[in-house]
């Protein structure tokens, strides 16, 4: 089967992120891999952004609230041409612009993140400003599931529907593993979609690795006039590398040289 643009981009995000995390001896590769397909579809098909004008005022805004998976974000931005691909080799090195968590000093990064629960409130402010000024831009915010433990997420969850922010699209990368264990054991989020529904968001649940489904769903977002949209994307932590999938350890561990080769072989194989 011929790979689509989104699928090809997702492969490159995974392969860059693996190389970056390996070279920097960094953490969070599992979180990068669970978000890779969502990022690929956003940047290949959805976001109205212009790599030649990263500060273009009318662009859609994208807040990558799970800033710990910054390697994947930097990878997609470099692939799209916001900055040279060579920068990726400097990830986390002394003096590199590419810090371990996402920083807005990098071209294409709208908001700096890294402490969880910050993205959605900022997204609400950006969406509200656009509504009140009559601007057509949309605001996207990608969160992790563990992030939904933060009270600030639910403060924003109350705020957005109250102000009819139908230009706001939130996505939860629901990979079911957080810092110290499974989400269901640390602090239950279920029924997650029903919670957002009860807060009067327009909710859809999808497989966050089904690229055509992601394309179709994100193309339809925002779903309803008068309501903010949220997509609960069911994902797999470490997706694409068999020995990482659903393993909490890969929230922290760095692949060694042999593990990197094995991982690259799996993510770069033809679809």
């Amino acid at each position: 089967m011929r790979s689509t643009e989104s699928q090809a981009l997702a492969k490159r995000i995974r392969s860059h992120a693996l190389r970056m995390v390996h070279a920097a001896k960094a953490s969070h590769i599992g979180s990068c891999l669970s978000a890779a397909d969502i990022l690929a579809v956003l940047y290949a098909k959805v976001l109205r952004v212009d790599p030649t004008r990263p500060d273009w005022p009318d662009r859609d805004r994208f807040i990558f609230s799970k800033g710990h998976a910054a390697a994947a974000l930097y990878a997609v931005l470099a692939e799209k041409g916001f900055f040279p691909l060579e920068w990726l080799e400097s990830y986390c090195r002394d003096g590199s612009p590419l810090t371990g968590h996402a920083t807005a000093t990098v071209p294409g990064v709208d908001v700096s993140t890294g402490s969880l629960g910050h993205g959605l409130p900022v997204a609400c402010g950006m969406a509200l400003a656009a509504k009140r000024k009559g601007l057509s831009r949309r605001v996207f915010c990608l969160m992790s599931d563990g992030e939904c433990d933060e009270g600030s997420v639910w403060e924003a969850a109350l705020f957005a529907p109250h102000h009819y922010l139908d230009n706001l699209v939130a996505i939860v990368d629901y990979n079911k593993l957080q810092g110290f264990g499974p989400v269901g054991e640390v602090l239950k989020l279920e029924p997650l979609a029903a919670k957002w529904q009860a807060f009067r968001w327009s909710v859809r649940e999808i497989d966050g690795h089904d690229v055509p489904a992601l394309e179709e769903t994100l193309a339809a977002a925002p779903f309803e006039p008068g309501r903010p949209t949220i997509i609960v994307a069911h994902t797999v932590k470490g997706k694409g590398v068999d020995y990482m999938e659903n393993r909490l350890a890969w929230h922290y561990k760095t692949p060694d040289a042999a593990q990197l080769d094995q991982a690259l072989c799996q993510v770069e194989c033809p679809i």
Partner: protein, 319 residues
Amino acid sequence: MRTAFIEAVCELAARDPRVWLVTGDLGFSVLERFAQQFPDRFLNAGVAEQNMTGLAAGLALSDCIVFTYSIANFPTLRCLEQIRNDVCYHRANVKIVAVGGGFTYASSGYTHHGLEDLSILSSLPEMTVVAPGDPQEARLATEAIASRQGPCYLRLGKAGEPVIHATPPQFELGRAIRVREGDDATLISTGGMLKEAVDAHDKLRAQGIRARVLSMHTVKPLDESAILEAARETAAIVTLEEHNCHGGLGSAVADVLALAGTGVPFGKIAVPDRFWHVAGSQAHFRGLAGDPAELVARLLGSRRSLAESRRSGRKGLAA
């Protein structure tokens, strides 16, 4: 100060369509006039200060100048990380306003004592920290922070503070205002303690001591030149603040004096580092910090006795 603030913000909003006011569900009978005049730029974020501050950053990153408003520690400590990460790191144009700084709400108990804000907010990069001394300064400070690019913190009293400046003073962020002249000692106050400084000036004058009074309305960036000038020209310096004794105005002034190697006798009137478990008026709690006039007199006295003992010591050596 609260009235001066809201009047100034309404005037600013009338002139500049970028000005917004966001409250954390407080400001009853104060903010209505803004809400009525500028409904599209007023927001009650509810009792949700983290979201209030994050969304203020989002608005500011969309070319708005956003005042966030609440009382005591709610717009500052409750959402400190949003201030640090979302506002300061992005140099977002958010102006945080706390009504009821210090012991304004003393009787309400420790939750409403705003005694650590100057220290904590001063330690954030990019942040400007302002505590005006009277309603005149509050109005001018509001205008000044609106035109300053980047994050600012404005600590206000409540309502009914005495007007110290008979006419509007020259006001510039980072420049102390000389409120009373004097060459014997210097009283440096921030916030509403300006009243105590001026009272101490009067008390000292009755004793024949002429104390300069500086209103250090901007705690960060600090007016180092006014402090060093006071160290050169006067014989003792005392700071006054309605704030914990650690990390506020006194600590910042002491830094300047020590780093410059001045050796001028120095004392601070500040709140002891403890919680207060009882009720009491603002005046009651201010009184616990000590008497600034007495402190000045003591510092000048010890300086004189030190100088005298040095002189007699030298004489003895020569003999």
